[in-house]
């Protein structure tokens, strides 16, 4: 029995030894699933450069990534988090509380969300308000908020086709849904509805973003590839996802215009296409110099050959930054400019 106890103790000793001596020589990245495809391409190129190990990238969603990122400083916490929106005040406070005092913000580029359907369907054009009316849980009819009554597109506006509304929506956890909520549901929400919510003492922004659950908007899961498959087999259905999926699948799906504008590289860059947003990643400054390669990774990501208009990220659907914004982001990456977190 004595021997058994000794073995067990030895095992525990080894276990604690491996944890304390555990130092990392590989960058760890967490965060948004929207930035993931771009970050992985940069990481792979970076690793092939041969000087550093290839960074490990986990797709946790923007919110989940911030939580891990702000949990503290040290080899057990990630060095970088990707985000499909800017860091929130609450998250900054969490970071500060856990000693993550200096954060560098890098704007990666722009992402456009396309509202797409099968290539076999006739072309379509919507306004944001029409999209909101098709998707919202409650809409205003004759000055009153009612459960969404629209069954066909033509019920919303007689100029729209007389087809059943059928929209595949991303789940609430996805960054695409986040962006859709703020860019379409928030902005497309009618003034009457907003003032009615305000009058009732409810938060208009939150209420406007609630989606109907009566079968006209179907939650389709995180798997964008699956949404593409469903859209191509059903010409009446619509779905929304990142611009890169549109580029990769243009033999199967096409985008409908928003306010008469088709999603395009230029349109997303200058935000003249209405559903476009910037993408970010955040770097923990305290890790630079401790974990090898972070600064070099930032330089690789922000170099012209990756982020530029002819860079390899542009090829897979990231919309490059306009020249002035590029300069700001590149300077931040080279000079390690931190953002204010208080």
């Amino acid at each position: 029995m004595n021997r058994l106890v000794k073995i067990l103790l030895g095992f525990l000793l080894v276990l604690s030894f491996t944890t304390t001596s555990y130092a990392r020589d590989q960058i760890k990245i967490v965060g948004s699933s929207t930035v993931y495809p771009y970050a992985t391409v940069v990481a792979e190129k970076f690793g092939k450069g041969g000087k550093f190990k290839t960074p490990v990238i986990e797709s946790t969603g923007t919110g989940g990534g911030m939580k891990l990122f702000c949990a503290g400083v040290g080899a057990n916490h990630p060095d970088i988090t990707n985000a499909s929106r800017a860091i929130k005040t609450k998250e900054k406070a969490l970071c500060e509380k856990n000693g993550v005092a200096e954060i560098i913000e890098i704007v990666v580029g722009n992402d456009g969300i396309s509202f797409a359907h099968s290539v076999n369907a006739p072309d379509a054009d919507f306004t944001k308000e029409q999209l909101w009316r098709a998707l919202a849980a409650k809409v205003d009819v004759d000055g009153k908020l009612v459960e969404n009554p629209y069954k066909k597109w033509s019920d919303i506006d007689s100029s729209l086709p007389g087809k059943k509304i059928e929209i595949l929506i991303a789940p609430p956890t996805s960054g695409t849904r986040d962006a859709w909520n703020s860019l379409v549901m928030g902005k497309g929400c009618s003034k009457t509805a907003k003032s009615l919510y305000d009058a009732a003492g409810k938060k208009a922004k939150k209420e406007c973003a609630k989606m109907r659950e009566d079968g006209y908007a179907v939650e389709a899961g995180e798997n964008d590839t699956l949404i593409v498959q469903k859209l191509s087999s059903n010409p009446d259905a619509f779905g929304f996802f990142g611009y890169s999926y549109l580029v990769a699948n243009k033999d199967k799906i096409k985008a409908s215009s928003i306010n008469g504008v088709q999603p395009s590289l230029e349109g997303i860059q200058d935000y003249s296409y209405p559903i476009a947003r910037p993408l970010f990643f955040y770097v923990k400054k305290a890790h630079i110099g401790v974990i090898p390669g972070i600064q070099e990774y930032m330089k690789e990501f922000t170099s012209k050959k990756s982020m530029g208009s002819r860079g390899y990220l542009a090829e897979i659907g990231l919309v490059p930054l306009a020249a002035d914004k590029y300069k700001v982001t590149r300077t931040a990456a080279v000079d390690l400019n931190t953002i204010k977190i208080k």
Binding site: Y22, A43, E44, T54, V56, E58, D224, N249, K250
Partner: protein
Amino acid sequence: MTKEERLKKRHRAEKRFRFYGLTSIFVALLFVVILVQNIFSKGSSAFKKTVITTEVFFDQELLEIQNGASQEEIMEADFYDIMIENLIKAYPAKDRDEEDELLKLFSGDAEIEIKKAFLNDNNLIGKTITLDLTASDDIDQLHKGNYPRDLPEERRRISDFQLVIYDYFVENKKISKNFNNYFFNNGDSRDPELAGIGGALVGSFYSILICLLLAFPVAVLASIYLEEFAPKNKITDFIEININNLAAVPSIVYGLLALQILLATIQLPRSTPLVAGITLALMTLPRIIIPCRASLKAVPPSIREGALAVGASKFQSVFHHVVPLALPGTLSGTIIGLAQALGETAPLILIGMVAFVVDIPSSPVDPSSSLPVQVYLWSESAERGFVEKTSATIMMLLSFLIVMNFIAVYLRQKFEKRWN
């Protein structure tokens, strides 16, 4: 109702039941066939890769190194110019734009492939060799017939001009399909033509190894004690019920447990096979204990009593007689438990195994993915080439499971003693 009628009725009932039984077996088989057929038809093409046969001339002017250079010198040297100059000769392109389109037909690793050829035989300067260079995934999918070419150009990823080059390659027999070594040797990649399950295989291997090392001894000792030594009272009953309950706990719960204890409290490194192995061990432990106890129970009491009768101690009777007889059942139970652990994804999501890992792990504390996680990751990727990779990975996973289950059945049938 007469006797005959009643008999007929009973026979009819039996016939109906047989029919129902056959139908349900048929339906179940049909689903299996559809599933396997679907996976195989999509996945089998992933085991081959499209290569473009290209002549490569090693021009001294374009290289910084001489014949007979050392390994390090070659590794450091730039083969970019050699690659460009040789690849654009693959087709008589007219201008810079056409050359750019031509270059896109090759994989992102063309330079590395040329360098490797040079590493194998470093007396190549001034010589011309013929190399099979991996094609880009667009050409790969086109050549395998997975990508339509009869669409208008703006809806295709391959331009009209690239199709012209492709047809030229086909006509001159410069394009062919080789065994896809990258699929087995490489780690994950964002280029489908370079992506492989090498890293996931190693990660799964380490995880299962750690799971076996932890779960097997604990499970065997626990079941021997509970079955042979423990007194039968309320406490052991309670333990038994809990083991059965634990075996039915959804695997994601073990992931949460590992997240709290292994990652947050003990601070083991995230995304590593070490943590995955411990988590899977916790999950498989009750699933191994149950068949172990069953096989111990199946050893007739006469064996124990016989041993005790000739003066063996309790310990001797158990370890010299009962355990060896129960071993085949114990082993097959363990293997089936491990097979379940091999296909498990849910707890791994929580401990950070769902990650993009390019480097193949060299130890259990290196970040890694695993086979089912690789399936999950690739099924979400936008590129067309990953569809076949996903199915091919499922095929590999299924074949491992089949082999493990086969070993379990074999062990049981070969070594198990029947007591009748």
